[in-house]
């Protein structure tokens, strides 16, 4: 199984670098995972990371994209969904479902998505 060393601890990941163990996640590791994706985390990223993690621990699955976009619209006071969508892709260019899940330490969404 792939893994990386972080602060003296071995962190296991799946083939694509998603954390294998939910409890391994912390803010420093999020920063490390984001950097690997070419992302520098800002306050705006953190708001989404925290929201998506709350959702996951409540529902055992990542939120639907529409829910995420709606949340962003609200959090950032944006005028419409189109703008919110653009905003999310600026933060997570490879797509919010997968890249956000990865940085937030959640499993990769599966299926036709």
């Amino acid at each position: 199984m792939p893994s990386f060393e972080f602060n003296g601890k071995t962190i296991e990941t799946d083939d694509e670098g998603y954390l294998q163990v939910l409890d391994d996640w912390n803010k420093e590791i999020a920063g490390y995972l984001a950097k690997d994706e070419g992302i520098t985390l800002t306050e705006k990223h953190w708001k989404l990371i925290e929201w998506v993690r709350d959702y996951f621990f409540k529902f055992q699955v990542a939120p639907a994209i529409k829910s995420l976009i709606k949340e962003v619209e609200k959090l950032e006071n944006l005028s419409d969904k189109k703008e919110a969508n653009k905003f999310v892709y600026e933060l997570f260019p490879e797509g919010p479902a997968k890249q956000l899940a990865k940085v937030a330490g959640l499993p990769k969404p599966t299926g036709c998505v």
């Binding site: 694509e16 529902f59 994209i65 709606k70 797509g95 479902a97 299926g111 036709c112």
Partner: protein, 496 residues
């Protein structure tokens, strides 16, 4: 770790589809992740590849040849005429001769000749036969997962050889010796655990549906519901779980809900059968296909519905329409007045024709639309009662809810449609370059329609196609918003 976007090889769109220079092994580097132990075991396969796999593989191969007369014929009857060579989008995109349908099939035929024909076992290499070596197994694992089982090549084969049957058999043999593909096996395991490919549990699904109902209410002022697990509803609606999760898929779900609302027909989705897709079919496993499919009919019985309607999902329609009856039928507990199952496009168009719902096509006047025929609908099923209904019905429905429609050029649509490049269980990121290569022919046809007819919207009826094109469009420099389901058009046009 993540493959950098920069490493993607994206072809230039000129509108033309050219046959590439042949380079054997050109796409050998793109490989699937292997299936993990617990997923493999849950599907009834050995957890991993073990000593003695060759003998076991030949044994499974023999069983398949005995059970599946077609497979045996497909091994024997190819005359190497070459008609299929330039018909596969993965060959056209990669130039790899192992992705010519005959080249891909030859990987299996060489093994077949060695073990199952007198000439092959006596004369070996002279008879184009070779033993099932690790090197050959690696080629199988690579190239039988660079096929989307779209059957475009079969359409042109003068002998009617169904190459998808060969790919499915290869995957079944590999799974049987413990060499699985992660993407499909994870997904099937999730269906067994949660009812759907994504792994959405019941409470999460209800929450998503509540939010959608709210959104519809905000947009229309109407109380349009999406009931879940409602016993006694007339219709059980089976949609791909992407319709509960992804974009633009969710827009079609809103469209279905509006149709049921306006027609006054009660419906329900199910948290147990929360998936139309059937990846059991992709991996050629009869047992897994049957088990995934069975959930739908068990749920139809439990909820006491009168009919089952399938949402926008290409291979799901094939699995439900073409195989349900023999796998899990008969469905004599459902109302015999209706076709079981009914495709949502057939259902909605029927309501339009009966005058039960009305459309305002001008609502889609900002769109100049073309339609992509999904492989498994086009070449693996029918729709409605008339011949070629699977081509006619989606087009009639688009035209009922929009004024501007153009066909993609001949040779790229209907029975000759190119795959989106993500079908058959290969819609996974580790083979992104194969997906890009495979999308090239259809993308060229779309580019041509954009340039010559001003097309700005691609209408689809498949969750895989929607995800694949939404991923591909930006890579080719196009806006992903130009992709959506037919019921997204319905959603805009329906007069509530």
């Amino acid at each position: 770790m993540a493959k950098a976007k920069a490493s993607y090889k994206v072809p230039v769109l000129t509108g033309e589809i050219k046959v590439p220079k042949v380079v054997p092994g050109a796409s050998a580097y793109e490989k699937m992740y292997q299936g993990e132990k617990d997923d493999m075991a849950a599907l009834g396969f050995p957890a991993s590849l073990e000593e003695g796999w060759e003998i076991k593989a030949v044994g499974i191969f023999k069983q398949l040849l005995t059970h599946n007369k077609a497979l045996r014929d497909y091994m024997d009857i190819c005359v190497r005429c070459g008609a299929c060579t330039d018909k596969c989008q993965f060959f056209l995109g990669t130039g790899d001769s192992n992705n010519m349908p005959v080249g891909r099939a030859e990987l299996m035929r060489r093994v077949y000749r060695y073990y199952f024909t007198p000439a092959g076992s006596l004369f070996k290499g002279l008879a184009d036969a070779e033993p099932f070596s690790m090197e050959m197994l690696k080629k199988w694992f690579t190239y039988y997962y660079q096929c989307s089982e779209c059957r475009r090549c079969s359409y042109y084969c003068p002998y009617g050889i169904d190459t998808a049957v060969i790919t499915m058999a290869a995957r079944e043999i590999m799974n049987g010796i413990g060499l699985g593909q992660k993407y499909s096996t994870v997904i099937i395991h999730k269906v067994f655990n949660t009812g759907n490919n994504i792994g959405i549990p019941s409470a999460a699904l209800r929450n998503t549906l509540d939010e959608l109902e709210e959104e519809i209410k905000d947009a229309t002022g109407k109380d349009i519901k999406i009931p879940m697990d409602a016993e006694g509803a007339e219709v059980l609606l089976i949609v791909p779980s992407a319709d509960f999760f992804a974009m633009p898929h969710m827009e079609s779900l809103i469209g279905y809900a509006k149709v049921f609302y306006k027609a006054g027909i009660s419906f329900t989705v199910s948290s147990y059968a929360s998936e139309a897709a059937n990846f059991g079919m992709f991996i050629g496993s009869y047992r897994n296909t049957q088990e995934v499919n069975k959930r739908i009919w068990d749920e139809a019985k439990r909820l006491k519905v009168k009919r089952v309607i399938a949402g926008e999902c290409g291979h799901a329609w094939r699995a439900m329409y073409s195989y349900s009856n023999t796998m899990n039928g008969p469905f004599d507990f459902l109302d015999s007045k209706y076709r079981q199952p009914t495709h949502i496009c057939d259902f909605t168009l029927g309501l339009v024709k009966d005058g039960a719902i009305k459309m305002d096509p001008s609502a889609n006047d900002d769109k100049i639309i073309t339609y992509h025929d999904s492989c498994n609908v086009a070449r693996g099923s029918r729709m409605g009662m008339m011949p070629e209904g699977q081509f006619i019905i989606p087009r009639e429905l688009i035209k009922a809810c929009a004024n501007n429609f153009h066909e993609l050029r001949n040779g790229t649509n209907k029975a000759e449609t190119y795959c989106c490049g993500g079908g058959g269980g290969i819609l996974t990121d580790e083979v992104m370059n194969v997906r890009i290569a495979g999308s090239m022919p259809k993308m060229q046809a779309i580019r041509e329609a954009m340039d010559n007819k001003g097309v700005n919207f691609l209408a689809l009826i498949c969750a895989i196609c929607k995800t694949q094109f939404t991923k591909m469009y930006p890579l080719y420099g196009l806006d992903a918003e130009m992709v959506g389901g037919i019921h997204q058009l319905v959603s805009s046009a329906i007069i509530l």
